[in-house]
Amino acid sequence: MGWLKRLSEGLSKTRKKITGELNVLFEIGPQVGPEFWDDLEATLIMADIGVGAAEEVTSRLREQSQREGLTGLAEVKEALVGLLAEAFTTGDYAILDERPSCVLFVGVNGAGKTTTVGKIASAAKARGRHPIIGSADTFRAAAIEQLDVWGRRADVRVVERTRGSDPASVCYDTIDAAEREGADLILIDTAGRLHTSADLMRELQKVVQVTRKRATCPVRVVLVIDATTGQNGLSQAKEFNEALGVDGVIMTKLDGTAKGGIALAISHDLGLPVLGIGVGEAISDLQPFDAEEFSRALITGVDDNEE
């Protein structure tokens, strides 16, 4: 470490320490009390980040507060947000903006894949791109009809076959159509499946393989996760990632009261970026992911009497 850096770090520590002490002296703002730490751990656990992670974050924040002499509630919370936000993997956020590209949406049943495909198609179109949708959920009742409606809403063509057909063939057809029509963003909806179903995971592997082989553009796999998901989300992400090589995650249903803390574990442990968040059932209810904002939301409720 260079002397200049050391000096400036020392200075910043001193400054923080002094601020802290001044806070105590002049009672500026509420202070962090002993109950804060229990409260924090509870809040983090209830946000679904996982009990192990919650304990780790709490102890690291405690250490940092001591080291940097942070005692004011506001500054400790700021440090906490920083700690959480940093834990997210910042990946290649351009995945959904590559041109041309092909993105497959995968995930467990009911996570919000189809809805997300509709939202992304619409947003891409609005940005002047030429998307096309592949209806590769050929299993669930009326999945094709559901995606049809989204295609109409987004004014994007949907390539489909009848229910029960081979999903890999649908991908093939979709890429054919994309090439014919000069589409530059291929969005493929797949059937929901639990990561524990070996057969269905094998089937999906085949779908992705066929698509990778056929496509002449980069092929990405996006995992869709429901924000209400608890610790099982990590298991889901691990299995899908292992089977398919996932490129990023989209978390849906953040318009409810669930905090979606499992996204942190997934992003951190598996090194996957969060690409976007779903905040409703309407076509425009898709937002970019902001690690800091997300982290701030995760800890709402810690020491409520402050606000």
């Binding site: 679904d48 009742a141 209400t228 608890g230 610790q231």
Partner: protein
């Protein structure tokens, strides 16, 4: 989920560390309770529910029965299981139908939880019981929701009432009327998914309820749901109220701790579980099984119970002998027979945590014919060979293969497998020997267990067992 290891193993480890001190103290129990707390939180039981549960369980653990026990881990697990099972309620899966015609059953829940699928499954179940159900498609928001229900209904031969373009309250009302006209005795109202904070949508659910006065409202809850479930069910209980719960997607590996949260926050019983996308993947709720699942214990306990009930004294003797001198092919044969009696390897493996997946990976099914082949091979060994497997050389192998009508390759494979098991038993022998040194901990029950499964069934060596099974059936 293999990541966490189950509570039983953890407590075993915890108490192992405390063992030497003799009588346990309150502090020791606190240590154990920390493990219980972790296990429940990892299973997604709500934080506050866990807190209460642990406090209550701790009280029960502070009895001399546990404190002075030689097997405190088992005692604690037993108490935790009992408390959990108790809290989860009873098996109340009878749909309470009234004499009203038609009966109305309404399904509510969050988006994507599995309401529409459950509606179809209920219809299927009721139809099989001789009822004439009608499905009412009252989700007018999710694209093609009515199509989905109609498709499912058609597949089951159940009529679906849809009122495209109408308000959900109106559709529900009309469906009831249509049921009367169409001689249907039960209307199942499928509703749209809604967030409990969506005021307008919650009001709509309350309005549907007021309009058709359901005899029963069932809340559909995804078993993968995390901590937030208490907020959700509390609001649903307040705004629409419900009579019972259907837990879905239990075919996965979610521990399903939400079941406990729902139950302790609302007091509503869990009535059914849904275990797949097919219409018949619908089962009665068993609190004891759910309790084990939450603790990550699979159905291992029942396997062990089955095994120890099976194993008679003679087998227990054999187990003790095996532990001392190693296993012979005669022992091996006896093990095979007892496994057959239990319904075969497949049924044992599938009742282990993660066992179904293991089976899947093994290609869906274990070839029980293999057992027959193994038996044939052992039967064509001489008495001496069975007792002293180490004398089986190349020429003996060829003879045995001929006698059993198999290839030498098969004989080799069996001997290899046999040696592996023996090796594992050697490890267990070391473990048990250790424990014995610390106070004769090898209980009759433990011996029986080993007798029954050839030393495969110790709760603590589940992972090892799974690994071995995988190797055996690869």
């Amino acid at each position: 989920m293999a990541v966490f290891g189950n509570l039983s193993n953890r407590l075993q480890d915890t108490f192992e560390g405390l063992r030497s001190k003799g009588r346990l103290t309150e502090a020791d129990i606190d240590t154990a309770m920390r493990e219980v707390r972790m296990a429940l939180l990892e299973a997604d039981v709500n934080f506050k529910v866990v807190k209460d549960f642990v406090a209550k369980t701790k009280e029960r653990c502070l009895t001399s029965e546990v404190l002075e026990s030689l097997t405190p881990a088992q005692n604690v697990v037993k108490i935790v299981l009992e408390e959990l099972t108790d809290l989860l309620g009873t098996t109340e899966s009878k749909l309470v139908l009234t004499s009203r015609i038609p009966n109305v059953i309404m399904l509510v829940g969050l988006q994507g939880s599995g309401k529409t699928t459950a509606a179809a499954k209920l219809a299927n179940l009721l139809k099989a019981q001789g009822h004439a159900p009608l499905l009412a498609a009252c989700d007018v928001y999710r694209p093609a929701a009515a199509d989905q229900l109609e498709t499912l209904g058609n597949e089951l031969g159940v009529k679906v009432f849809r009122g495209d373009g109408q308000h959900p309250v109106q559709i529900a009302r009309d469906a009831v009327r249509a049921a009367v006209d169409g001689m249907k005795d039960i209307v199942i109202v499928d509703t749209a998914g809604r967030l409990q904070v969506d005021e307008a949508m919650m009001q709509e659910a309350a309005d549907i309820k007021a309009a058709v006065k359901p005899d029963q409202i069932l809340m559909v809850v995804d078993s993968m749901t995390g901590q937030d479930i208490v907020n959700v069910v509390t609001a649903f209980a307040e705004r629409v109220d419900f009579d019972g719960v259907i837990m879905t997607k239990l075919d996965g590996d979610a521990r399903g701790g939400g079941a406990l949260s729902v139950r302790s926050v609302t007091g509503k019983p869990i009535k059914f579980i849904s275990t797949g996308e097919k219409p018949d993947a619908f089962e009665v709720f068993h609190p004891d099984r759910m309790a084990r699942r939450i603790l990550g214990m699979g159905d291992m306990v029942s396997v062990i119970e089955k095994v120890s009930a099976q194993a008679d004294e003679e087998q227990a003797e054999a187990a003790a002998r095996m532990l001392q001198r190693g296993m012979t092919f005669d022992d091996f044969l006896a093990q095979l027979k007892s496994i057959e009696k239990l319904g075969g390897f497949a049924s044992i493996i599938s009742s282990l945590p993660g066992g179904d997946r293991l089976l899947d990976k093994a290609g869906g099914q274990i070839d029980e014919r293999m057992t027959k082949r193994t038996e044939a091979i052992i039967m064509s060994m001489t008495k001496e060979e069975r007792a002293k497997p180490q004398i089986i050389n190349g020429s003996r192998r060829a003879r045995i293969a001929r006698g059993a009508g198999v290839e030498v390759y098969d004989v080799n494979a069996l001997i290899k497998q046999f040696n592996q098991i023996n090796k594992m038993m050697g490890k267990m022998r070391a473990q048990v020997g250790d424990a014995k040194g610390k106070g004769g901990r090898m209980s009759k029950r433990a011996r029986r267990m080993m007798g029954g499964l050839g030393g495969l069934g110790d709760v603590a060596s589940q992972a090892e067992m799974q690994r071995m099974m995988r190797d055996m059936f690869k």
